[in-house]
Structures are given as C-alpha cells and as structure tokens.
Symmetry: D2
Subunit: 257 residues, 4 copies
C-alpha cells in the first residue's frame, strides 16, 4: 500500500477555450464520469432500481435537499448582488415546490410516510456533503458556492438527458425522476450556475480558481459516493457499522423499558 | 443485506446518576470503546506506529486542529457568557501553543516540512468531521459544540492515560504523544467540557438532549473512522480512489507541461 | 437632567386575547404611533414631500432594502422548516421585483441614477437598523427575525392604508408609494409575519418573549428615527456632522489633486 | 438646509509614507480628534466626571465589551492563520480579565451591582456600534475587523497617554481608568492592530482599502458619539425619547399590577 500524500505539484489552472466550468469538468473527468456511469443511474434509467434502494435514496435525498435549499438561501444572503439574490430565491422556491413535491409523491408510492423522511439518520456521505455545503455557505463567497453546487446540477441533468434519449423507463417512479431532471427549469439552472461561475472566474486570481477547483472536485466525489452509498445500502463504513448498530439497539431497548 | 432505516423508536434520554456526559459515554459505548481499542492507539502506546502512518496522522491531525481551534473561537463567539468565552479562548491559545507545537516538532523529526503540513489534502473523515464542527459552530449553541468536542477530549485523555499506565514507549515521538495527552491541562479541559455540558443538560428539554446525543455519537464515530483512516492509509473510500488518483495525476502532469 | 437607567422591573409579558403580535403593538404603542403619525408619512399621503426629501428617502431606502432582502435570505437559511423557507424566498423575490423596481422608477423620475442609489452613504439610523437586522440574521432564530421585521411591514401597510382611505395624492410618485404598500401581497406578508410570530409565541417561554418584545421595540424606534432622518435631512447627529463634512471634504479635495 | 448626498468623488487612497493605518488616522482626523478632545475624556483626566456619568459609562461600556470580546472571537474564527488566531484569543482573555475586572470594581465603588450592569438597555450608539462589529464579524474578513477595531484602541491609548502626561487624577476611579489604558498590553494591542492592518493593506486592492477606510471612519464616528452620549446622558435621540419613556413606564406599571 502506498503512502497517501499531499499533491506536491501546484496544478496549473489555465482556463480552456470553453470556459472555466468546462475546464473544471475535464479536470475532474474521472470522478464526474464515474458518477454518470454509476449502476445507480443506469438502474434508474432502466426502471429496475430495487424498492429498498429507491426508499433509501428518497430518505437520503430528502436530507440532502433540506441543506441544499438552506445553502441556496445562504448564497442569496452572502452575495452583494440583488439580481443574483432574486435568482437564487427563485430556484429555492422551485426546488421546494418541484423536487420536494416529487419526493413526497414518490415516497408515498413506496410506502414511506412524512415521518420516515423527516426523522431519518444521514449516511456518512450525506452528512459530509451537506456539512461542507452549509459550512461553505457561512464562510465562503458566492463563487465558492457555485463551484460546490455545479456538479450536482450537471450530473443530474446530464444523466437524466442521456437516460431520456434511450427512452423513458416504464416504472412510473423512475420515469418521474428522469422527467424531473430533464425539465427546462433544471437545465436553465445548471446553465446559469456554469455561466455565473465562468463570469466570476474571468475576474479571479489563481488562488481563488484553485479553491473553486477543489470545491468542485469534492462535490464530484460526493456525488459518486452518494450513488455508491445508495446502491450498496451501506450507510456508514464497515469499520463503524457495528458501533452504529449497537447504538440503535441500545436506543430501541432503552426506549422499550 | 438488510435495508438501512431510520431508527423508529425515540430514545428515552433519562440521565443516569453520574450525569449527562457519563450517560452519553455509555449510550455510545460501542463506538467509544472501538476508538479506544483501535490498533492505531495500541501502536502509538507500544511505540510501533509505522513512520508513514505517523506522517499521515500528523498531516491529517494538523488539518483537524486548524478547524478545531476555529471552532473553539466560534464557541467563544456564540456563547453569551463572558466566563465561558475567556475559558474557551484560554484553551484555544493552549492548543495552538502546545498541540500545534508538538505536531511541528514531531513532523520535523519525521522529515515533514511546514509546507507538507499546510498544503495537504484532507481525507474523507477529516473533511466530514471538521465540516460538521464548523457548521455547528455557525449554527449551533454552546452545548451543541460541547457535545461535539467532548468525545475527542475524552478519547485522547483516556487512551493516553491507559497507555501511560502500561509504561511509556521508548520511541520518543510516541512517548511525546502519550505525555501530551496525559498533561494536566488536557485532563482539566476534558473535565470542564463534561461538567459544562452536564450543567447545560440539567436545564434542557428532551429535544435538546436528543440533539446533543446525536452530535456526541457522530463525534465518536468520526474518532473511530479517523483512527481507521490513519491505520489503513486510505484517504478516501475505494469507490472513488481511482477518481482521486486520476485527479492527482492530471494535476501533476498538467503542471509539468 | 435625570440619569438614564436600566429598567428595574421585569415586564410581565402576558399575551392579550388578540395574540402576541397585537400585544407587542400595544406595548410599543408610543413609538409605533409616533412613526405612523410622523410628518414624513403625512407629506407622502398629501403628495407634498419635497423632492430633496424624496431623493434622500429613495437613497436610504435602497440601502435598507439591500440588507432587508439579505435578511429574508438569512431567515430562510436559519429556519429548519422548508415551508417557511419557501415562503421567505417568495417574499424576497417579490421585494426585489416590486419594491426595488418601484424605487428605480421613482428615482429616475427624480433625476437619480443607479450609481447615485448604489454608492450612497448610509445615515446613522440606516446603518443601525440594517446592522441589527443582519447581525440577528446570523445569530438569531426565525422568530427573532419575525419580531424585528414585523414593525416595518405593519407601519408601511397601516400608514399606506390610512393614506389611501383619505384619497390618493395627485403627485404620481407619492401615489405610487401609497399604492405599492396597499397591494394585497404586502398585506398578506404583514399578516403572515404576525400569524407566524403568534404561533411561535404560543410555544415559547418568557425569556424568548422578552427578547422578541425588545427586538420589536427596537424596530419601532428605528422606523420612527428613519422617518425623522428623512424629514430633517440630517444623516448623522449634529455632534459628528462637522467630522462627517470634513471627511467628505477631504476625500473630494484629495481626489481632485 | 442643504440636501445630504452621496459623496460623488471616489477618494484616492494613496498610502502615505507612514503606512496605511497612519493614513487612515489623517483621513479621518476630524472625527478622531473630536473624540480625543471630547469633554468626557477631559473630565476623566481631571477626575471630575460626575458619578451619574461614570455609572452610565460603565453600563454602556459593559454592553460594548460583551460584543467586543465576541468580535475578537469571531475574528479568531474567520482568520485562516493560526498565529493570528492565538493572538486574538490572548487579547480576548486579557480583555475579560483586565477590562471587565476593572469595570466590576469601579461599578461596585459607584454602587452598581452586577445585575445593573447585566440587564441594562443599550443606548442607540452602543447598539449601532456593536451591531456593526458583530455583523462584520460574521460577514467580513480579518482586515475588515482590524479596521473597525483600530480606532477604539488608538483613541483610548492615545487619550490615556495624554492624560497621564498631565499627571494622574486624584479621583481613584478616574485614575484607574487612565492607568488601565496606558498599560503596556494595551499599547501593544493597538500597535499590533495597526501593523497587522498595514501588512494587509500592502497586499490589497483599492476596493478593499476603500472598504477599510469606511469601516475605520464609522468606528471613529461611533467613538465620538459614544462619548457624547455618555456626556449628555442621552440614551436615544429626542425624537424617540418620549416613546422610550412610555415603553418603560408601561413595563413598570404592567409589572406592578
């Protein structure tokens, strides 16, 4: 096993002809493509996601959206530009109305109640991803947040577009997912994020661009790990699975006594 | 593989005779004990930690301490009590002077420069742990932070105390670690955290105590996963290791061109 | 001159039959009524606001709205409830589109450019009011913010409604103001704020209700002082007016050299 | 009465030979000198501050220090540099131990209890000043905060040094004040703030320097208005004094019933 180490060479962040966000996507092509090609996505497109996987996805995605909308609000608060602020508020509304609405309907079909969605415990990757989002919402700048939000928008829109091109799945829950993420509003949002980040990058120095590259890369990894977590139904790594189980057991027996 | 699910039963958080913090420790005994008994700790106490493990530990622990001291400052800012504020500022100073100083000396012995420590990339668990800390620093209350900081203090002091009782290791770097975490100031800090949280718990309602229980449990898991990460030298899960490697390769080759 | 002192008696915050927000309004009736009856409001309703007063109002109100929309975003970020979050985002959008749009049109009529609005210096009360809003946005809870935002909504809606009942002014700029703040969306917003705060108060303890009372009272005073500042065209108190003028003079002469 | 207006000319912020902080002091010389020469300072140095003024000062200064130490903690949290973090934590401790300790002893001599200090209501300028501090603590950068904290340190150290040069007052409470702010630790703090801001300014662009100039200028005005508020015992402007009195009256009579 080789020793993990800090990357010694400073990456040269020259922006390609297609703009900064396109360069970011190439830079992190390995993680981005692995997310796009993940069996979870394929199963969604083929309509063969197992119900327990679909339920686990809904639960974790609901937890994700709670902080995702929170971070849209934080981005709206942190930006000094009122047009950006209104744009982010519009997306926040859209997300609560459309995505959370879709979740609720799908969850009901799969036998999950609102309480199941609400009180659930986050998987490690859900925690790590959302805690990075919220932390950056309090500490970072608007472009920091754009870099962090872009991979999710791109992966979902690109994945759904590719799946739709192959023909919509018969499974109505999977079909609704594909339709939701090919909707024009989603595509516009992904395009706005990329264009707004490109604009910020054209006025930024190398230190900022390096920071945005790292944030983008982290979000790509988290997208990939999120799909992996759902696919394998493994909420926390094996190393602490026993401890997690024990703590659940304790709470149940204690509550029963 | 069984389907992961939200714990259905609400835990009954009756505080035992020894106080809230002692109850938390029992509640999360599985994760807490697994951290204490982890081979990383045993190897540190026996002075047989491999140099590449020790270097990886120093790099990740340095990243951790950057946000740990940040969170002590946030706790000092969020508490309305000026005595608490001064107490937390005192610990922040102590941490920078003692722990960071020890790190720097040990790192030099192991051939790491300040740049190695500074520019390093966080492992998944380092990111997840510190992002939770900082997020809670902005959103949470003082007791939220106490619950989150307590496991680290307890695990280190308890582990070091047990190791010291078996006799100090000959390896001077491991010995310095054991001595640092058996120092009176560390023991006082752990005791203060527990006592202050006990005081908060005695005036709190069930919703707050449940939240503190969850935060404490998360910190226990992260302590365990942190040791596992160091021990196995695995910075990120296998599922995205290839993507991580590809992104490093890209940056190196690009920078060289 | 009598010595200013801390109020010795703790107010008894018993909620009247009409709910907490109505009680707050009675509690702070002196400041609230003084704001409603301020000559600035009467002049707006009679269409006799002097152009330099109207310009100064637009400049200061624009500065206020920049932070007001910021605080709506912060409130959306701090609340754990996604319905509240979407409601606040909707208002944020409305404010940017309606109020800021009205400002811009009125400003153009009065000969102010976008740059005049953007680079302007806040008056003392504008700074004090918005700094309290933003600070509370980062530190406070949702009801803290509701208590702070309620007086502005109530004063504007109530004032405009009374003015409209007397007949709309002929002056088109003043008429647009009266129409804007009697619009149904504004009335709904004021009603929602009051109802949401009432709901929070019914589940809160005396310490929280006391805090909300103080925040509400501060906002009432700031509304009154804001009108007074506009009316008298006095940006900063006489005690530092000379210093303010000197600093402007310095900047102009220095910039000219 | 002339119309207040936004300064049209953009100040040219060329840094003089003595560094940025010295340039700031000259730039805002009118407000800075007016604060230094305020009768409140002279009365403190002559030992003739009236007891009701001294009590009012202690009450408002205590409220100020609560947020001042909070902001030192926020600055420590926001800076990425661990040396700065430790330096700010040291000052925070010093402030709680020295300044708050001095306040408490002086207050006791003047018949004020801890409760008088704790539950007091802030004057307008105390609110405005501390709300700007805390808001900037959450939103701003380290140099933003340095620019905001520098005038207070400079005014107190410079004023006390000049008073001490004339001979210490016989009044022991005034003498303790002069001695506290001529202490070496206070002088070092003021010097560190200036040097650290100079260092930041040498690497900053014009937009940042303009922002720091404005923050410094605001703090100068607030220092001046703070002394004026204490000297005149006028907590809030005349325009809302009646409303403030009415709200106090209401709370007392209500509490008595």
């Amino acid at each position: 096993m080789s020793e993990p180490s800090a990357p010694k060479a400073r990456p040269v962040l020259s922006i390609g002809a297609e703009g900064f966000s396109a360069t970011l996507r190439q830079w992190h092509a390995a993680a981005f493509s692995a997310a796009l090609r993940h069996p979870f996505i394929a199963a969604m497109g083929d309509g063969v996601l197992r119900p327990e996987q679909h339920r686990f996805y809904l639960i974790q995605d609901r937890l994700y959206l709670e902080d995702y909308t929170r971070v849209l609000a934080l981005a709206a608060a942190r930006t000094p530009d009122m047009e950006d602020r209104a744009r982010l508020a519009r997306l926040l509304q859209l997300t609560v109305e459309e995505e959370v609405g879709l979740q609720r309907r799908t969850a009901a079909e799969l036998g999950l109640t609102d309480d199941d969605l609400r009180g659930a415990e986050p998987a490690l990757v859900t925690r790590a991803y959302t805690d990075l989002l919220v932390r950056t919402g309090f500490e970072g700048t608007l472009p920091d947040l754009l870099a962090l939000l872009l991979p999710c928008a791109q992966v979902y829109v690109e994945a759904a577009t590719k799946l739709a091109a192959r023909g919509l799945p018969e499974n109505p829950l999977c079909r609704a997912w594909v339709e939701a993420y090919t909707a024009p509003a989603m595509q516009e949002w992904a395009a706005w994020l990329a264009a707004r980040l490109d604009r910020a990058a054209s006025a930024a120095g190398p230190a900022e661009r390096l920071r945005w590259t790292r944030l983008y890369g982290l979000a790509c990894r988290y997208e990939l790990l999120f799909f992996e977590t759902i696919w394998t139904l493994q909420s926390w790594p094996a190393a602490c699975a026993a401890a997690v189980a024990a703590s659940h057991g304790a709470s149940v027996s204690d509550a029963a006594s």
